[in-house]
Symmetry: C2
Subunit: 171 residues, 2 copies
DNA sequence: GGTTCACATGAACAGGCGTTCATCTGAAGA
DNA sequence: TCTTCAGATGAACGCCTGTTCATGTGAACC
């Protein structure tokens, strides 16, 4: 709080005129960022019809947002006092998951995706992205490109046999 | 430190007879766990010849170890004073990455895996697992099965066309 | 019994944290 | 000019942390 006040050019006491507590301050910032995050993903994927391309955009947007706000992530991961806000994080994750789950379900229904377990697939894609966020903070060597990530999640590691519609799912 | 001493049934001072600092204590535990982790993965994958099966085992072992030591992960993620040991974590990650990278490289060389960028693929697989560990702590709803994870990473989301060697890479 | 000494104890210390509140400030109204 | 009061200040408070060190303890040896 002392650092935030200093950075804002006001006193610690003034901070408590606008926010009841550190938790309220952090929650406010977090909620704003969450909305920006969700809106960016929803907006960019809206006009796309191919679920595979939607996932590519979802992944790209997620990673871009994480990079853009890396200072935020870094600060809040390093801050030892930021252990609250769990319920907000949960809601955040649930929304992200539900959205992605819809894309994957549609991909399966349309026969573009394989007959996978949609909820498992959703969690796994989200897990890659969650790992990406962690890497930003503690292991930048593990950062990868959005394209490589999309390609592997869509096509897998194993070599594809037989004819492929390469235009649909470029490697 | 007070909690550890209490749990161990000794005094705080006695803790400092055996460990110079909290950092040294934590590093000791961490190193031991790291070695166990690495040995388990190396041992279980040793006798396997198919790179795809090696990755399946790698993923399964990683997730199992994370689950077995979930209390450890939980504690150390909640503990506000455990921000050091970065260099050890780095070494840990590098070793895990190098090992996995070797498996993937061999898979590509043997024509089992597609012509992917091995270093990117490595990071992506590790990222899924890193996300899994995070989920254990902050979002258990996002936990998935090792089999689903392996299948998606090996086969991808997109439906495979043409003949497949289903026995090799079961969905 | 007396001496020694490795081991063990936990109160005390210094520093950091989020939060409070007596105090100040300066513009607006009388 | 004097009064009022919302807004701003930062020293102080209580709590928690990792760490230290004067003090205690008891087995081993002379």
């Amino acid at each position: 709080m002392r650092m935030i006040a200093g950075e804002a050019g006001i006193s610690v006491g003034a901070l408590y005129l606008y926010y009841r507590s550190k938790e309220e301050l952090c929650s406010t910032v977090f909620k704003g960022l969450f909305n920006e995050f969700r809106d960016a993903i929803a907006e960019r994927t809206r006009e796309i019809s191919d679920p595979a391309e939607q996932i590519r955009t979802y992944i790209g947007t997620y990673m871009e947002m994480a990079r853009v706000h890396r200072e935020f992530i870094y600060t809040f991961n390093k801050d030892k006092g930021f252990a609250f806000g769990v319920e907000w994080k949960q809601k955040f994750f649930v929304e992200l998951r539900r959205f992605l789950n819809g894309i994957i379900r549609r991909g399966i229904d349309e026969g573009i995706f394989a007959d996978i377990e949609e909820s498992e697939a959703t969690k796994i894609v989200l897990s890659v992205l969650r790992g990406y966020v962690v890497s930003i903070v503690i292991d930048p060597d593990n950062l990868f490109t959005a394209d490589a990530c999309t390609d592997i999640l869509l096509n897998g590691l194993v070599k594809r046999r037989g004819p492929q519609k390469g235009a649909d799912v470029p490697r």
